[in-house]
């Protein structure tokens, strides 16, 4: 396992550098932020002064060099908008999204495994049809629409939940998590169902039954672990995709997470924050991919064996 990890981590280094360079150049393509940060009536001299102070008067390669030199010393610059250190802002926002995404995926995976297995146990039964229809519908509802509906129905009309915000008890989590949850949950139910159906019709399941194994033993002892591989892959991809959902959820519910931070820093041309945020997100995504690979190796001996090669 250790050489496997080492190899994976080393092979992530080059793509990470690509991400850093990519976001640097993409950000520069969006133009000089000077108009945004100075009053419309600011004089040309003030504009030049501002550009010089922020280093925007340098050529892009020179700016890149400065950025890389600073980044090597773990200095990712200062936010144009708030004057805070970009690192600090990113690390303030990151745990919010991480918690949100963690709770969401935990619920999505648990729920999907239970419901998906139930549906797969009797394909085409009423339970299966209803579970499939609901999960497909869930996966195709626009998240912002669901969020606004949730606020109006559960926040205002029924007054069961707070409309938005982060402060308070567990009830503040309900709407944001539900909004973030619907799509991964819907997709995962279908994936679990599909892979459980094929696992349950595999010959080794017949053999297990020929040994007199009970249904519970067949499902949990034999089929589930075989069905888990595609579920893990899809769950990994969906977790990565949660960053997209987080942009919407955090915007609507006023959660100070990394998604909102990134979109705000794009709109505000706050390059330092954008670069720091994308870098941290990318590192997290790489770590997540490695984690998924490790889980694959843990659940499937064939993968484990193939690793040293």
């Amino acid at each position: 396992m250790v050489p496997f990890l080492r190899k994976r981590i080393l092979s992530s280094a080059v793509p990470l550098v690509c991400v850093v360079l990519g976001v640097f150049f993409l950000a520069r393509m969006t133009g000089n932020p000077v108009d945004l940060y100075l009053p419309l009536s600011a004089t040309a001299e003030q504009r030049a002064e501002f550009s010089a102070a922020q280093g925007f008067d340098l050529s892009v390669p020179a700016q890149l060099w400065n950025y890389l030199v600073d980044a090597a010393q773990l200095d990712f610059g200062t936010s144009l908008r708030t004057g805070q250190s970009a690192t600090e802002m990113v690390f303030d926002a990151f745990p919010v999204t991480l918690q949100l995404a963690g709770v969401t995926m935990l619920l999505a995976i648990t729920g999907a495994v239970l419901i998906g297995s139930l549906a797969a146990y009797r394909p085409n039964s009423a339970v299966d049809r209803i579970a499939s229809l609901l999960s497909m519908t869930a996966a195709s509802i626009p998240d912002f629409w669901f969020a606004v509906m949730g606020v109006l129905v559960f926040g205002v009309s029924l007054a069961w939940l707070p409309t938005s915000g982060t402060l308070g008890g567990p009830e503040v989590w309900v709407l944001p998590v539900a909004t973030l949850l619907i799509r991964p949950f819907g997709v995962l139910v279908q994936v679990v169902r599909g892979s459980m159906v094929s696992a349950l019709s595999a010959p080794y399941v017949k053999i297990a039954r020929s040994k007199g194994a009970t249904p519970r033993r067949v499902i949990f002892g034999h089929a589930l672990r075989n069905a888990v591989t595609p579920v893990l892959t899809v769950a990994g991809d969906l977790t990565v995709g949660l960053v997209n959902g987080a942009v919407i959820v955090e915007t609507i519910f006023g959660w100070p997470g990394i998604g909102k931070l990134m979109i705000d820093s794009i709109l505000q041309r706050d390059f330092a924050v954008l670069q720091a945020a994308v870098l941290l997100t990318a590192v997290t995504i790489f770590a997540l991919n490695i984690l998924v690979d490790v889980c694959h190796a843990l659940t499937d001996p064939r993968v484990r064996q193939a690793v040293p090669a």
């Binding site: 108009d35 009053p39 419309l40 003030q46 002064e49 609507i252 006023g254 959660w255 041309r269």
Partner: protein, 529 residues
């Protein structure tokens, strides 16, 4: 704001309004009795009748007082946490003493201010003229690159001296007749404030002090017990922010907040909302350098094609007034005689046909650029304009841009090679005088103008030199003239803001509310017995 992710641009400044017309009764009703206690909890804290909960569109980037000319910062900081020497009445435009008790011009380039005694900062330190001198120096002469410096002072430095504990002098490089007005933007902080770095949480003399700032979540204020003036009704205040207008409205409905800013016009019919003219004017700026917009008949046709009343009623909740000029009533130079153009599709079509017959390429694609979040309903407005322009035989494409992109189209140097542009702008006259508008928007080389005529340039220069009634008349005439001979602008509407107000409080918004919301003016509603 509808496109809620795009926050109000920081470039939107607090306005210096010298409006003479009192559009609203600015009386603050003093309270008595107990507040209605809501049941719902939320981010903004429990409704306990003692905390005033305000929901903004975005988190203030900072509370640094020298950045208070940023809308997002100023709305929290100004007159709540810190105070300037002089304040402007948003209704009358007159200057009132605040931390200064009086001021006069004592030399060609020098003004002298007497400061108030018995004022203490939140940290307990007494306020003196030295603090005022320090604050002005820090905001204007330092290397902090404060927004207020670029906003009101330009490149010149000020020479500030505290003559005694209660008197200071300010000397400018050039004679400046409106220095007190400029200084109304400088918020006063104690001498102990860091002169070399911006602070995020300021100390001031205002009625409220910052209790805590939970980043991303909320800012809590509490009453400053040693405040020199009248104590505000609410002991505590709490700011939260939601970028989605429907969520802000929901928070009022649910009782999770007492005040919500910038609601959608859809909410206007509720009795928990209050609208107020915010001195903004929207217009379509036509780039007369590019065909087919270089033909005045085409520009005039666009003006005639627009259904202002329809747009206002259907898209802006009926909250705006049709406009025929860039400055709203109350601004020096506003021409009462200009009637907003009425829609006349037949005439517009005829004008386009005429231009076409003369070889003007009316089929060339015009890009209509608008900014997401400029005002609620902006994208529908852009669609309506596009349709109405298309209906008279022009070829129009809409491009919704973000703030930074739209500014590239708005400010000189204008982008090249992008074809004919019709730019949707929203202009707030800041000085209360049309000179500001004309120099920016109407001069041929004005920073926010696409083109002009020499004749108009001459008239603008001439009008700027006049004063009094002559000045009013000259500007009024040249505004009418732009509508006749230049037609760079197709004016749409003088806009309004919409505030959500809980039934448990009383507050009268005024034209400055968007930039400076004075919590001390909010009082609990009278409870019914």
């Amino acid at each position: 704001m509808k496109f809620s992710v795009s926050p109000a641009p920081p470039a939107r400044r607090r306005r210096l309004r010298a409006t003479t017309a009192a559009l609203l009764a600015g009386t603050v009703l003093l309270s008595s009795g107990c507040a209605v206690v809501g049941s719902a909890a939320g981010d903004a804290g429990r409704a306990d009748g003692r905390t005033l909960r305000v929901v903004l569109t975005q988190e203030p980037p900072t509370l640094e007082p020298c950045e208070a000319s940023l809308t997002g910062t100023g709305v929290v900081v100004r007159s709540n946490i810190t105070e300037p020497l002089v304040e402007r009445d948003p209704d009358s435009g007159e200057l009132h003493p605040l931390l200064a008790t009086g001021w006069k011009q004592t030399g060609e380039r020098t003004w002298t201010f007497d400061t108030r005694t018995g004022v203490t900062f939140h940290n307990g330190a007494p306020f003196t003229a030295r603090d005022a001198a320090f604050s002005i120096d820090r905001a204007v002469n330092s290397d902090l690159a404060c927004n207020v410096e670029g906003y009101v002072f330009g490149d010149d430095d000020l020479e500030v001296k505290a003559v005694s504990d209660t008197r200071l002098t300010v000397t400018t490089e050039q004679p400046d007749p409106i220095l007190p007005l400029r200084l109304s933007f400088v918020e006063i902080v104690p001498r102990t404030t860091d002169p070399d770095a911006k602070v995020r949480i300021p100390v001031g003399t205002g009625p409220y002090a910052v209790g805590s700032w939970q980043p991303g979540a909320a800012i809590s204020l509490h009453r400053h017990d040693d405040y020199w003036g009248e104590a505000p009704d609410f002991p505590r205040a709490r700011y939260v922010w939601r970028s989605d207008a429907s969520v802000r409205a929901a928070m009022i409905d649910k009782g999770e907040a007492e005040i919500a800013v910038a609601l959608d016009p859809v909410e206007a019919e509720k009795d928990t909302t209050a609208s107020y003219p915010n001195n903004e004017t929207t217009a379509l700026r036509l780039d007369g350098r590019e065909a087919p917009l270089d033909d005045i008949r085409v520009r005039r046709a666009v003006d005639l094609a627009v259904d202002r009343e329809g747009i206002i009623d259907a898209l802006l909740g009926g909250l705006a007034e049709p406009a025929g000029q860039l400055v709203p009533p109350g601004v020096v130079g506003h021409n009462d005689g200009i009637e907003p153009v009425r829609q006349d599709v037949a005439r517009a079509r005829a004008l386009v046909e005429e231009a076409k017959a003369d070889g003007v390429p009316v089929g060339r694609q015009i890009t209509l650029v608008a900014r997401n979040g400029m005002f609620a309903g902006v994208s529908e407005t852009a669609e309506a304009l596009q349709y109405q322009m298309q209906r008279i035989g022009l070829n129009v494409k809409v491009r919704m841009a973000d703030t930074a992109t739209q500014l590239q189209y708005q400010l000189r140097p204008l982008p090249k090679g992008v074809g004919p542009i019709a730019l949707l702008i929203m202009h707030g006259n800041q000085a209360g005088d049309a000179a500001f508008t004309t120099s920016q928007y109407l001069l041929s080389d004005g920073p926010q103008s696409a083109f002009g005529t020499e004749e108009l340039d001459r008239r603008i220069a001439g009008a700027g030199a006049l004063s009094g009634a002559e000045r009013q008349k000259a500007f009024a005439e040249l505004l009418a003239d732009q509508n006749e001979t230049v037609v760079q602008y197709t004016h749409l509407a003088h806009m309004s803001g919409l505030l959500g107000l809980s039934r448990s409080i009383r507050y009268e918004p005024n034209s400055a509310t968007g930039d400076e919301m004075r919590l001390a003016e909010v009082s609990p509603a009278k409870a019914k017995h």
